[in-house]
């Protein structure tokens, strides 16, 4: 009787389980938004907002999968209710389709899945509109005829990094976050009436002829008389601004470069002469010594037993002594600290590597955010990557299935950075550096387009130094710094600081102050224990070419023909396509000359056209003196369209962007 009862219970349970799963499946809905209405900013963590509605109580896991990268969050939705979860993820996860699934507790299969595809505004100008009704935006920019995409938004706190322009109505409050976005390179458009009420702090009026424009950091605030008027000067205001420098290859992204720097900062200790010595001793014991002993015993056949036993014993000795065994878990990080108008930001990537299956819980102080960083097949690696379980915005768990690595990104306000001031002596720009930070700078200097200037030696906390900015050394920060520190392990220097330099270029452009820190501590809690992870750091503070006024400006690509290809880093870029529009930042009160050093850089023959600001069209432009009245606008902007001579498209190696320069007499 008891057996029958048990059997009946088991059958009932077995029948009940699928019914419950079926009910769950039909009663759950998920909605997801990535970035800003699907548009994402490659240079920052991407917000993913998932709303779950359930008729029944749902407890389980929310899974975000993109290739081998898996991010999970524990979720619980009350019966008949809905909950919204916001997760920050690495921009590299968005390279492919993201599958979002809900896995009930105790089950392995998702009961509800959704696939979302992030979008990147590669060949268009993305314009957000907020609090503006009746706005009539053109479909293409006048310059370059780049398509314009309008994205109406209702919140400026999420994902506006993806926008090129943000047009706001009079009722919208300009917050500090919005001004920070502008300082980082955003362009804010508002009505002239509303702008008076905004405290633009460090902003400077740069042009009052074509409407009031304020330079603010690397961005600008533009005032338009009437946003809704069909006559609004959109054709003048909206220009192609998206630098083609923005990287779509995950390997070149800032996050992956920092990941590489962190991983390279730990020297590989596996290769050691001790291993060879150990093996030689083993060979000597197993062969001659063993032979002599067995010969004396007149029992050579015992070698069938003694040799395997000695082998096993030696393996155990190796394992215990640790000749070949690396640390079970190792942590490292690399950080980039970007100075901005008022608030500096630290971005760090923490890497953990383990030798076996285990999990590690990481947390940072609440002022910092922790998110799943680049990993998995975004990098084309066949190395096993840990799954990341997000607990909160400052906590996550790395779940290793086997030996492999796991990554976490940290973002937040940076500690105090060195203070800079710019002076000119005998026409030579000099950047004075007061190291008010708590870190010793092992090397520092200034990158000015294709040139780099490095100060002799380092700078201790509290010390004052200076960098004479000149055009003597071609290269990036890491090139010259590794030459300065020839006694260092240069390969490691290149891997660590070269990677950080690449990451910095993606964040601040081609003109910046930089400083390297050998050991930057990051306070984290690992498995509940406070720990300090040490790693290399780089400080970058953006400068503008005109601020430096060294008599030379290198261009940035702001638009290119569809399907164009750009490769390389910083000003060292190769271009392939039908045409490209380059922007030069030059002083407005000097005589400008255009140089084409195509022979030096191996570039091919190109034709050039300059944007005539008066005629609002491109006109033929020759190498040599430039007519500033026609080709340089009020804020020192010169746009040059490069085309192939004849009908052929560019080939790789035929056009090097670094070969074009605008020069002027800086007085030096």
């Amino acid at each position: 009787m008891l057996n029958r009862l048990c059997l009946a219970t088991v059958v009932l349970l077995a029948l009940a389980t699928p019914v419950h799963a079926q009910t769950t499946q039909t009663s759950i809905e998920i909605e997801a938004t990535i970035g800003l209405d699907g548009w994402i900013d490659d240079s920052r963590p991407v917000p993913v907002e998932v709303t779950i509605r359930s008729e029944l109580l749902f407890a389980g896991t929310l899974e975000l999968k993109s290739g081998a990268s898996i991010v999970t969050v524990a979720v619980e939705v009350p019966a008949g209710g809905e909950k919204t979860y916001q997760i920050m993820v690495s921009p590299t996860i968005t390279d492919a389709l993201i599958t979002i699934g809900l896995v009930p507790a105790g089950l392995e299969e998702s009961v509800s899945t959704l696939r979302v595809q992030p979008r990147r505004a590669v060949d268009s100008v993305l314009i957000g509109t907020l609090g503006v009704e009746g706005i009539d935006l053109p479909t293409r920019t006048v310059i370059g005829e780049v398509p314009i995409v309008e994205v109406p938004i209702d919140d400026v706190t999420v994902g506006i990094g993806a926008l090129d322009y943000l047009v706001i109505g009079g009722g919208v409050v300009v917050t500090d976050e919005l001004l920070q976005w502008v300082a980082g390179g955003g362009r804010l458009v508002m009505s002239s009436g509303a702008i008076a009420a905004v405290d633009l702090g460090g902003g400077t009026v740069v042009d009052e002829v074509n409407g009031i424009r304020f330079d603010l950091g690397r961005g600008e605030v533009v005032a338009v008389d009437d946003l809704t008027s069909p006559d609004a000067a959109w054709s003048r205001t909206l220009q192609p601004v998206r630098s083609m420098a923005s990287v779509s290859d995950p390997w070149s992204s800032a996050e992956v470069q920092m990941l590489r720097a962190a991983s390279s900062s730990v020297p590989g200790a596996l290769v050691s002469p001790a291993i060879l010595i150990g093996l030689a001793v083993y060979a000597a014991v197993v062969a001659p010594v063993n032979l002599i002993v067995l010969k004396r015993m007149q029992r050579r056949e015992l070698a069938w037993i003694t040799v395997p036993v000695l082998g096993v014993v030696t393996v155990l000795v190796f394992a215990i002594v640790g000749v070949l065994r690396p640390q079970p878990s190792q942590f490292a990080h690399a950080a980039l600290m970007v100075g901005s108008l008022e608030r500096a930001e630290i971005r760090s990537v923490v890497v953990a590597a383990t030798t076996a299956e285990r999990s590690h819980h990481l947390s940072v102080v609440p002022s910092l955010s922790l998110y799943p960083a680049a990993t998995g097949d975004a990098l084309g690696l066949g190395v096993s990557a840990a799954n990341r379980r997000v607990m909160s915005s400052s906590e996550l768990t790395l779940e290793f299935r086997e030996a492999g690595y796991g990554t976490a990104g940290v973002i937040g306000p940076a500690p105090t950075l060195p203070r800079l001031s710019l002076t000119t002596t005998d026409g030579v720009p000099i950047v004075s550096v007061e190291n008010v930070s708590e870190f010793a700078l092992i090397a520092y200097g200034v990158v000015d387009g294709p040139f780099v200037s490095v100060a002799p030696g380092g700078l201790e906390p509290g010390a004052i130094g200076s960098v004479e900015v000149n055009a003597d050394n071609f290269g990036q920060a890491s090139d010259v710094v590794s030459q300065v520190h020839q006694n260092q392990n240069s390969a490691r220097w290149w891997q660590v600081y070269g990677s950080l330099t690449s990451a910095a270029q993606d964040q601040v452009g081609d003109h910046y102050f930089f400083a390297f820190i050998d050991s930057l501590p990051l306070q984290v809690e690992i498995d509940g224990r406070p720990q300090e992870i040490s790693g290399p750091g780089m400080i970058v503070i953006p400068l503008t070419g005109t601020e430096l006024d060294d008599g030379l400006a290198s261009p940035q690509i702001v638009a290119a023909s569809p399907d164009s290809l750009v490769s390389g880093e910083g000003p060292w870029r190769w271009m392939e396509g039908e045409w490209a529009i380059l922007r030069f930042e030059v002083p407005v009160d000097r005589e400008i000359e255009l140089e084409n050093n195509e022979e030096m850089f191996g570039g091919g023959a190109i034709a050039m056209e300059g944007w005539d600001w008066e005629a609002a069209s491109f006109a033929l432009l020759e190498v040599g003196e430039v007519d500033e009245v026609r080709f340089v606008d009020g804020d020192g902007q010169m746009l040059v369209r490069v085309l192939p001579q004849g009908d052929n498209e560019f080939n790789m190696m035929q056009f090097n962007i670094a070969s074009l320069n605008a020069t002027w007499d800086s007085g030096s």
Binding site: A68, I70, V256, L259, R260, A261, A262, S263, S264, S265, V266, P267, G268, L270, V271, I275, L276, L279, A280, Y282, A283, V286, A287, P288, R300, E301, A303, W304, V307, P308, G311, V312, T314, V315, F318, A319, L324, R325, P326, V351, A353, T354, T355, G376, D377, G380, L381, G382, V383, S384, A385, N387, E399, R401, E402, A403, G404, Y405, A491, Q495
Partner: protein, 323 residues
């Protein structure tokens, strides 16, 4: 215990060269694995740095060590097994063995066991070298068992075939040459034959192959890779490249998939298991097919070899006595 095996075991270390050879064997293997450690570490450093690259050092060394053992088997075993019976014949001791109560199968399996036992003993001697990848991490015990199983099967195959050649040869030189020729054919000629088969099958490589490349199934390298890499995984194959990478790429192509850049894999071909992304198999595992072929050939070789060492019939003795 098989008396032949017992006798061989007692005599194995009597020779003068046994011990210097053991020392060279350990040092040679140690040096090669140490070089692999240097290469794997440098490759890891060049990719995403030493720390992440460390995860690929273990698999790289393990795959390299597996290949090293395979080469060891291919280079040593045919030479040993090929002389086992023909050597007795040349020393005129085979008749003595034949007239003992031992059956022909016992003689052949005894000789085979002695050869395989020595190979096993050599493997045991380099355990500290082979254990390095396990200590470094990134290698699953399942992979180790898969490799040992397949290496054992390959060794048995080569040993059995060599003994069959030995049994039917008239001189040691012919037996050794024949054994090495057959082994090298198995290892190096089968890929060439498979390339020819693929050329025909795929209309001169214009379309992907849709049937099995039968000529590649007996290849020991591909069988070993298949045994270690089973089930086929999309990640965790050892980073930027290991000695098994060409084999794994072939196995993925055999399943109609690839991890090469720009070649996507359909979502319905990926199965997730314990967080690993596996390829949903569309064909029987190659190592199973290879294993079945090996077992068949081993049985046939032992049977054929046994016939060659069968004790002569009494009538034959009678005829000789008459003469």
């Amino acid at each position: 215990m098989n008396p032949i095996l017992f006798r061989e075991a007692l005599d194995r270390f009597r020779g003068r060269r046994a011990w210097p050879f053991l020392m060279m064997w350990i040092l040679g293997n140690g040096l090669v694995v140490y070089l692999m450690l240097i290469v794997a570490t440098s490759m890891g450093d060049m990719g995403l740095g030493a720390m992440i690259g460390r995860s690929s050092v273990g698999p790289f060394m393990f795959h390299g060590a597996c290949l090293l053992l395979l080469l060891g088997i291919v280079m040593i075993l045919p030479g040993m097994a090929a002389v086992s019976i023909v050597g007795e014949r040349e020393k005129q001791t085979l008749r003595l063995v034949q007239v003992t109560p031992l059956s022909p199968q016992q003689i052949v399996t005894g000789k085979l066991g002695a050869a395989l036992g020595y190979i096993g003993w050599l493997v045991a001697a380099v355990l500290p070298v082979l254990a390095a990848p396990l200590l470094i991490g990134g290698v699953r015990m399942g992979d180790v068992f898969g490799a040992l199983l397949m290496l054992g099967l390959i060794a048995t195959l080569i040993g059995a075939v060599s003994i069959w050649i030995s049994a039917r040869s008239r001189s040691t030189r012919t037996a050794v040459a024949g054994s090495y020729l057959l082994t090298f054919t198995l290892l190096f000629l089968t890929p060439l034959l498979a390339a020819g088969e693929a050329f025909v099958q795929t209309d001169q490589f214009r379309r992907p192959p849709n049937t099995e490349l039968w000529t590649l199934l007996p290849n020991p390298y591909i069988a070993l890779v298949s045994a270690v890499a089973h089930p086929l995984e999309l990640d965790g194959n050892g980073g930027g490249g290991t000695p098994f990478t060409p084999g794994v790429e072939f196995l993925l192509t055999r399943e109609g998939t690839s991890t090469n850049f720009g070649q996507g894999i359909a979502a319905d071909r990926i199965v997730e298991e314990d967080g690993r992304r596996l390829v949903r198999p569309s064909r029987p595992p190659l190592w199973v097919l290879s294993g079945l072929i090996y077992l068949g050939v081993i049985a046939l070789a032992i049977r054929r070899a046994s016939r060659w060492v069968t004790t002569p019939s009494p009538s034959e003795f009678t005829v000789r006595r008459t003469r």
